[in-house]
């Protein structure tokens, strides 16, 4: 018998099956990410040569260039990578859990919930210190709200998407009302963040988003195993011993947590969570894998999209000063339309 093209690995009691093509594609995406990251360090208003950059990174450099790299470009790059990866995983988790590519955190209202929560705390406390808890609470509240409305003897993904969209629109209106009460200068800053921007992140933000990835990431990968049977439908998944409702709740919580952290450091960055998984999946399905959720691939694609969008954003002539989210939307929106067309043709909607 011809064996499936998968590499089996076993080590003591541990074992798994990896599709070599998926592996190659993930490595390839990571390579692309590395190159885009290199470009992101290289390009900027302050001209630096590659030799200077490597000196700064690995030894001690001059003062100004040192600051440019260590306090501007590097944290910004790392926040982009971290937030993009977090969005990618958050999107993949919930899309695959609901078996619906439209059900990503930015579509079902988690992102706007987190953003509204963050904005609300900024307005209440007057500082950005509580942004993250605010985003967390906002994300969880909106998730709970959407769930409560969409839940009817189980979670239908169509209901979830529609309820989430409605909530997103409502929250947008709420944000507009809050913004009207701010002074124009602050409002302009916040507006940018609401579209998704991280113009001058601090190292604290880097620590935060990577901390979230390190803590929640393994749980997400753990749930990736459950996602494999969940892909076969609720009945078969239950038959195979999965506790479908509990698994759903765990995955939702992980997705909301990752979304909230990413929103907290980088704003909602539209379409990253939405587009990362379908791209990763299409890459691996095209190579005949179709085995489980490509969470790592989605993380890599999400990071790539974000860093690329941010690079485009930074490379524009000075003065344009647009938020990064504009460019993630520019890349993501056409993807959304393409995905919708596919779904409509398949008769899912």
């Amino acid at each position: 018998m011809r064996r499936p093209t998968a590499v089996t690995w076993r080590c003591f009691a541990f074992s798994g099956r990896v599709n070599p093509q998926t592996l190659v594609l993930t490595v390839l995406t990571l390579a692309i990410l590395m190159s885009v990251s290199g470009l992101a360090l290289y390009f900027g208003n302050y001209p630096l040569t590659t030799a200077e950059i490597s000196t700064i990174l690995f030894q001690q450099g001059d003062e100004t260039p040192d600051i440019v790299i260590w306090y501007h470009r590097l944290p910004r790059l790392l926040v982009g990578i971290g937030a993009g990866a977090a969005f990618g995983v958050a999107g993949a988790l919930i899309q695959d859990m609901l078996r619906n590519p439209l059900a990503s955190p930015d579509i079902v209202g988690f992102s706007s919930g987190a953003a509204t929560g963050a904005l609300f705390t900024v307005m209440l406390t007057g500082s950005s210190f509580w942004v993250l808890p605010g985003a967390m609470v906002g994300g969880v509240l909106s998730a709970a709200f959407v769930l409560a409305l969409a839940w009817n003897k189980g979670l239908s993904s169509a209901r979830l998407v529609i309820t989430g969209l409605a909530l997103s629109l409502f929250l947008m209106a709420l944000v507009d009302i809050m913004m009207a009460r701010l002074d124009p200068l602050t409002a302009a800053d916040i507006m940018k963040w609401l579209v998704g921007a991280f113009p001058s992140p601090e190292w604290g933000d880097v620590v935060l988003i990577f901390g979230a990835l390190i803590i929640l990431g393994p749980f997400a990968l753990w749930q990736g195993f459950a996602l494999k049977s969940l892909a076969l439908g609720d009945d078969i998944a239950t038959g195979l011993g999965l506790n479908v409702s509990t698994t759903r709740l765990k995955i939702l919580f992980l997705s909301v947590g990752l979304t909230a952290c990413a929103v907290g450091v980088a704003g909602p960055l539209p379409f990253v969570a939405f587009a990362a998984n379908p791209i990763a999946r299409r890459l691996s399905a095209a190579s005949g894998a179709g085995n489980g959720s490509p969470l790592l691939g989605a993380a890599a694609v999400g990071a790539c999209l974000t860093v690329l969008a941010d690079l485009v954003c930074r490379s524009l002539p000075i003065g344009a000063d647009l938020p990064t989210g504009v460019f993630t939307a520019m890349i993501g929106a056409p993807l959304l339309m393409w995905q919708l067309t596919l779904e409509i043709r398949k008769g899912v909607i």
Partner: protein
């Protein structure tokens, strides 16, 4: 592990839906190591009963006992190691290959850290061979015929390696020779591996031929149960299906043979 008299039993199962009562105070005990077949007209609640037995549906009242203990109080993964179900209709991702589907059957024996042990690989090979799907094990499900798909699903639950099999119309989409082949396989599993089987079959004559025990269901109630020779009679056929028929002994197998008038 203690052994209960019946591997799977239910008492007082009641389920009401807006359309009416689907299951009406059903009590049943599945005989160990036998092939039980549930028969009854369309919409009488066969699938619902099977789904309740497999904890896919929670009944409004009553409970299901697996090896003597309430099924919903046992760990789902432990239940899955003892009981495998093939639901009536299932939609799975089209791009999935038969091999990967069958491999999924190993889930209750795996964990996120051990996703492909030697035992898993062996069980999948065996299941592929038993269900006769080796020839197209690398093709995606979307490229298969209805019958081929059905056999792929059979292979999946065989890979699950559970002593109790619940099959909801496993012969759907199969032509007559393949129906017989599949039921022969079920019988072989039952006789050689002592599997307890509960299945829903539409074809009464196949039920009569392959069943050790028959449950005749109508309007959510079990009207008669027992050996095929006792249940599949002209009177029961009239009562359950409203079918006017002649029942003669099958000249080849000796089981009852129903000839509608």
């Amino acid at each position: 592990m203690k052994t209960a008299t019946f591997p799977l039993s239910a008492g007082g199962l009641t389920l009401t839906r807006p359309v009416g009562t689907v299951l009406d105070d059903i009590g049943l005990a599945v005989p160990r190591g036998k092939i039980s077949v549930v028969i009854g007209p369309n919409a009488c609640g066969k699938s619902t009963l099977l789904r309740c037995l497999a904890r896919l549906l929670r009944p409004d009242e009553g409970e299901v006992l697996l090896e003597g203990d309430p099924i919903d109080r046992q760990k789902s993964k432990q239940v899955a190691r003892q009981l495998a179900i093939l639901p009536q209709n299932s939609t799975v991702p089209e791009y999935l290959r038969v091999f990967d589907l069958v491999a999924r059957g190993r889930t209750p024996w795996q964990s996120p850290l051990s996703q492909w042990s030697r035992g898993d690989a062996l069980a999948v090979e065996r299941a592929l061979a038993l269900a006769g799907v080796e020839a197209y094990s690398l093709r995606p499900l979307s490229e298969l015929s209805g019958g081929q798909r059905q056999r792929a699903f059979i292979a999946m639950i065989l890979a699950q390696d559970a002593p109790i099999l619940l099959l909801d119309e496993p012969t759907t989409f199969l032509d007559l020779p393949h129906q017989i082949e599949l039921l022969d396989l079920v019988r072989k599993l039952n006789r050689e591996s002592a599997k307890t089987v509960v299945m829903v079959l539409h074809d009464i004559n196949l039920a009569a031929r392959f069943a050790d025990h028959v449950f005749a269901l109508k309007d959510g109630k079990i009207h008669r149960e027992g050996a095929p020779g006792d249940v599949i009679t002209e009177a029961t056929m009239r009562q359950i299906f409203g079918l006017d028929c002649l029942v003669i002994p099958d000249p080849l197998h000796g089981c009852p043979h129903v000839i509608p008038r």
